[in-house]
Structures are given as C-alpha cells and as structure tokens.
C-alpha cells in the first residue's frame, strides 16, 4: 500500500510538470523556463518573417 501511494505521488508530480510544459507550449511559450519567455512569446522559436 505505501508503495502505491508513493507511485501515485510520483506520477502526480511528473504529470504536473509535463502538464505545465504542455500548457506553456500551447500558450506559445516555446522555451519554458527561459528568463525572457514572457517577452519572447511567439518568438523563441523563431519568427523570421519580420526580417
């Protein structure tokens, strides 16, 4: 039983981390964790059209 609880906790932590990455990606933040991700939305990945 304790093992199952720990497995569930680990799954919850990892799922939350993955979910956060997916949510941020969907918002357009292509480089989560980049200190400039707030200002480089749409562009970390590289919008070259404005050149």
């Amino acid at each position: 039983m304790p093992n199952i609880i720990v497995i569930l906790v680990i799954i919850a932590i990892i799922s939350a981390a993955i979910a956060k990455i997916i949510i941020e990606k969907k918002k357009g933040v292509k480089c989560i964790g980049c200190p400039a991700s707030e200002t480089t939305k749409k562009n970390c990945s590289c919008n070259t059209s404005n050149k």
């Binding site: 093992n3 720990v6 497995i7 964790g33 400039a36 200002t39 404005n50």
Partner: protein, 672 residues
C-alpha cells in the same frame, strides 16, 4: 476593423525614449526595459489599465521597437514602420525624449504626415527640469499641430499618464494635419530624399529654437561627461569593468547570496527530512530514492542556488539601469570592430548574460548578414543565467567561493568571442571589412530599485518554473536510468557502472579523458546540460547522491573542495576545465533554435555548433593539461590523444582561414 468602443494605440518613438517603460506603466505589464537603445525588437500588446483609463474605451496599446525614421534601416525599425503604415492604429502616441528634442522631432514630423491622429508624450520631463531646460509645451503643440503632454513614466504619481490617455481618446477619429510635408519627393531618387531630409531637419531645428530654452550649452562639460571620460576610457574602461564584475560576484556569491541561501536550503532540507520520515522503511528503496534523490534532491540542489542568482541579477539590473552597461559597450567596441564585428554585436552579448535566447534574437538589429550570423554564433559564449548555478557550484566547492572564478568566466567568454570573431572574419574572407558603431549613450541616473526588483523576481520565477518542470523531469529520468540496467533490473549497490545511464554516458566519457573528467557521471551531467544548463548541477546531485551543495551550518556553499573532489574524482584544475567545457560548448537546445532562426542558414548553424564544441574542447584541454603541468609538474592523462584531436581541430581552422585569406585577396584585386 475596430469597433466603436475599442481602440488600438501605437507607441512609437526613438530608441531609448522610454516607450517600454511607458507601456509597462500604462498597461501594468512587466516587459523587459533597458537603459539603452535596442532593447525592444518586436511589437508587444497590452490593454491600458483601468486606473488610468476612465474613458469607457477598451484601449489596446502596442509597444513598437524604437525607430529614428519611417525609412527603416534595421529589421526592427521595419516592424514599426510597417505597423503604423499598414495596420492603421486609431491613434499614435509618439514618445519624445524631452532631453533630446531636436533628434526626436524628425521622426515626429514623419508620423504627422500619415494622417493618423498623433499625441506626443514629452517623456523624461523630470530630467529636462533637472537640467534647467525649459520647454514651451503649448507652443510646441501649436507648431506641431497635435496635443503634447508632459510625462514621467518612471513616476508612480503625477506622471501625466492619465491625461495622456484622455487626450488619446479625444483625438480618435480626427484627421491629422502635418506641419511639414514631403509630398512630391521621389523616394527612389537618393539626392531628392536627402534634400527633403535636410529641409526637415531645418524645420525641426526651427521648432526647437522656438520652444526650448537651454541653460547648459551642449559644449559645456557636465559631470556625466567627466564620468564617461573615466568609465569609457580606452585604458581604464576594462580594469574598471573587471573590478565592478568582481564586486558583483563577490556580493552575490560570497557574501549576501549564501547568507540568503541558507534559509532557502534549510526549507529544502526540512522537506527532504519530512518526506524521508513519512516514507520510512516500508517503501521500496527504488521509489524512495526516485522521490528523495531524484526529485527532491535533484531539484533542491538547483533551487538552492536561487538566492545567489537573484542577488546577481538584481545587481546586474542596477548596473544596466544606471547606464553603466551602455558604457561597457563603448569600451568593448574598439576590440570588436578590429575583429570584424559590429559595435552593435555588444548589445546582444550583454543581453545574453541574462539568457542566450533573447541575446541571439537581438542580433536581428544588425544589418550586415555576416556580422549578424557571427554574433548569433558567438553570443552563447557569454555565461547566461542558467550557467550561473554551475559557476557557483564549482567556485564554491573547489575554489572556496572565490569571486575571481565567476568574473574570469565572463572575461574568458569575451576573449573567446573576440578570438572566434577573428577566426570567422578570416574564414569568410572579409578580413578587410570595416564597421562603424554609433551609439547614443543614455544619461547616468540613480538606478531604480523597483525595476531591479521586478527584473530579479521575474527571473527568479522563471528559474523556479524551469526547476519544477524541465529540471525535475530530467532528474527523474536520470535517477531511473541510473537505477536500472539494460535488462531493466535494479542494479546492485556498487554496480552503478552497469546502469543504463552509465552505458549511454561512458562512450562520451572516453572522449573527455584528455580534459581531466573522463567519468560517466560527469559526461552524463554535461549531456543533460544541453537540455538546460542548470541540469548539470541537478544531474551531479543525482548521480553523486548529494542532496544539496550548500552547507546550512556554515552559512556558505560547500567549501570543502577536497571532500567534493574525492566524491567527484576531480582535481581543482580538472574542475575548472569541466566548468569551462560546460560554459563554452554549445548552449541549450532552445538557444540553438534561436540561433537557427537568426542565422537563416543551415551551413552557418552547423558550423556554429561544431565551432562551439571545438572551442569548448580546446579550452578545457588547454586548461586541464597546462594547469596539471603547473600544479603537479607532469601532464594530465590522455595528453597525446587529446593533443591529436586539438591539433586536428586547430589545423582545420587554420586551413579554412588561409582559404578565406585567398578569397579576401581576390576581392581586393578585383576591386582594384
């Protein structure tokens, strides 16, 4: 099409006139600002906050990159020009630096010609008053034919912003008349455009003479000029920069940072102990180790450095805000232009000290293609924020928290950039190319504690998000990979070399033997560093089962180099080589993505990555072998194979440089 109660307002103005500061003030956003030109390179949108907008309109403000003219010279100026011409904002707010009216109004007169209502925000009006310069705002408004509002966007109160917003709504729908018009000028004819620009300058000069009363003439040497003579001096500039950077590292990593880190690490330790107690002996050791060592320990080891990094970013933000970093650009320019880089290359590199991604993106302000690509390739050599935990770890564990480690890494980065630029300019056959750098130096000012705090907190938040997502996942994967072997059986104690992680990292470790750190654990940490550089610290914590690197009782980072060295199997020299290898090999994948976007050329991208790998390898090899020779009197292990690789790399670069020289000579011969 805008609905009746919706408005779109464009914020335009010269670089460093305070557009983004005003944008942040009216929208409540916290976009990056900097006390120099060229910080904003793309448009940003935000709704004007209710406390300033009592008009009943939903107003969206669009912050545009700075521009000197409607005829774009650089790509980000093109964004501004295209937006105001093609997207028909309802009103244009033209932010004019009131301390430099004559320069700013050239662009204003061009905006007035578009027919879109313009409201001039006469920004930095507090600085004008300090300089005993008086401006006749009413007369200026009459002469320009548009409302002019005095603003101080850095002030919380009495900043003129509410008045500005009401005026914006008032002029909506009006037709703007232009006091100066260049209709009929053939834009394809250079001489007629120049003649028109000259007339425009004369018109602006006339307006300024009517509205401005300066008490201090421009040829009088001010205190600012005197400070510049010292700080931007060609001989004193570099030593002063070195001392300032040393002080920054000393405060953040030796004094204040570790003191704050103690509390933080105490919490992480408590969490570890609490979870350990809850798990007890009834839980499988594999699960217990994954949760404790992989997730809590690995993430905690990285997060433990957060206070040090926040203090460092706070201090760097103060330096930037007071105007000093712009002087560093001037000091470095004379070195950069000699190696074929533009003086503009310095700005991306300074931005790159925060994060390589916006640094690389800032290269788009450089018009020359070769210079832009070279700068994008070399910017990641500046140690970014993600590399700071790695620097802090090695400085503390092996060099007793010495501030010179961090400082020298910055100077090493600069030296590599200069050397790299020299190599690239020779390979591309453009060694005879010359560039000129004109930069408008911002005035020195007392740095804003509020802005520095906002910058620090936003970086801290991003650091935590990264630690809780990418770093956490990587550490969990690393922990699983080192717990199981290829048959997916739990490995026995003492048989770590049979783990999946060891199996993957060992072949790479062989290549690293001549660099002094040819063990799979260090190779694995270096590999995970390409996902995010903080991973180096997290992976080291996981593979060596070190819960944190900060000694809470000593109120300092782990200072027992011998102890950590014995755990990691490293000498101090090898540790320095490992640090340099991690700093000067390619950046994280996200930064490589940014390089790809700015270089717009696969050949350049791959050459850049190979160059970065080669540079990191050569620097680490020289550091380890020479350092070992000096400290022990003998060469380090793997000298001969390492030397073969290094000579091969250098020989190939020299061959390419010679080929480039021939190309350059042919160019000269053709031009003669």
């Amino acid at each position: 099409m805008n609905t009746e109660k919706n408005m779109k307002v464009a914020l335009t103005g010269n670089p460093n006139s305070g557009k983004t500061t005003l944008f942040n003030a009216i929208t409540g956003k916290i976009e990056r600002v900097g006390n120099w030109a060229g910080v904003t390179i793309e448009k940003k949108e935000g709704d004007i906050k209710e406390s300033l907008n009592k008009t009943g309109f939903q107003i969206t403000a669009v912050d545009l990159p700075g521009a000197y003219s409607m005829s774009p010279f650089t790509s980000e100026e093109g964004i501004t020009s295209r937006f105001v011409k093609n997207e028909s904002p309802d009103v244009i707010i033209n932010i004019v630096d009131s301390t430099n009216l004559s320069r700013s109004l050239f662009f204003t007169t061009q905006l007035l010609e578009l027919g879109i209502p313009v409201v001039v925000a006469l920004n930095k009006s507090d600085l004008t008053k300090k300089k005993s310069t008086t401006l006749d705002v009413k007369r200026l408004s009459e002469l320009l034919g548009c409302p002019v509002i005095e603003t101080v966007s850095t002030n919380g109160n009495n900043n003129g912003l509410e008045n500005l917003i009401s005026k914006v709504v008032e002029v909506k729908g009006e037709t703007q008349t232009a006091p100066f018009n260049n209709k009929g000028v053939n834009m394809a004819d250079k001489s007629s455009v120049e003649a028109s620009d000259k007339k425009r300058y004369e018109f602006v000069k006339e307006i300024v003479s009517k509205v401005e009363d300066r008490k201090i003439s421009s040829n009088t040497q001010t205190k600012q000029d005197a400070a510049d003579r010292i700080l931007a001096d060609k001989w004193l500039g570099i030593p002063i920069f070195a001392v300032i950077m040393w002080a920054v590292f000393s405060i953040s990593q030796t004094h204040v940072g570790p003191f704050l880190a103690d509390t933080f690490v105490g919490w992480i330790d408590s969490l570890y102990v609490l979870v350990e107690g809850l798990l007890g002996d009834s839980v499988s050791p594999v699960l217990s180790s994954l949760l404790l060592d992989g997730i809590i320990g690995g993430v905690g080891a990285v997060v433990g450095f957060l206070p040090l990094i926040m203090v460092l970013f706070f201090l760097l933000a103060l330096l930037e805000d007071c105007g000093y970093m712009a002087r560093v650009a001037v000091v470095m320019d004379r070195f950069f232009k000699r190696v074929g880089l533009s003086g503009k290359s310095i700005i991306p590199m300074i931005i790159g000290t925060g994060c390589a991604i916006p640094g690389v993106m800032a290269t788009r302000t450089i018009k020359n293609e070769r210079q832009r690509r070279t700068t994008a390739m070399l910017t990641p050599f500046m140690p970014c924020g993600a590399k700071l935990p790695v620097i802090a770890l090695f400085a503390s564990a092996f060099f007793n928290d010495a501030a010179w480690v961090g400082t020298s890494m910055y100077f090493m980065g600069i030296a590599i950039i200069i050397m790299g630029a020299l190599i690239v300019v020779r390979i591309t056959g453009e060694k005879n190319a010359r560039s000129f750098f004109i930069m408008e130096l911002p005035e020195y000012k007392f740095p804003s504690i509020k802005r520095a705090t906002i910058s620090m907190l936003s970086r801290g938040k991003s650091f935590i998000i990264k630690a809780g997502t990418i770093i956490l996942l990587c550490n969990a994967v690393v922990q699983i990979m080192q717990t199981f072997n290829w048959q997916f059986e739990v490995i026995a104690e003492g048989a770590e070399n049979t783990s999946i992680l060891a199996g993957i990292a060992s072949p790479f470790a062989i290549l690293l033997v001549p660099l002094g750190f040819g063990v799979w654990q260090l190779a694995a940490a270096a590999i995970t560093g390409f996902i995010a550089k903080e991973n180096v610290v997290g992976t080291l914590a996981v593979v060596y089962s070190i819960t944190n690197f900060i000694d809470t009782e000593e109120l300092a980072l782990v200072g027992d180099g011998a102890n950590v060295a014995s755990v990691m199997g490293l000498t101090s020299v090898a540790a320095l080589a490992y640090l340099m290898f991690n700093l000067f090999t390619p950046p994280c994948f996200a930064a490589i993505g940014a390089m790809n976007s700015e270089m717009e050329n696969r050949k350049w991208l791959w050459s850049g990555i190979v160059f970065q790998f080669g540079m990191g390898y050569v620097v680490a090899f020289i550091t380890y072998q020479v350092g070992t020779l000096i400290t022990t009197g003998t060469l380090g292990t793997g000298f001969i194979p390492g030397l073969i690789v290094v000579v091969g790399l250098i020989g190939y670069v020299v061959y390419l440089m010679k080929k480039g020289d021939e190309k350059a000579e042919k160019k000269v011969a053709l031009s003669v």
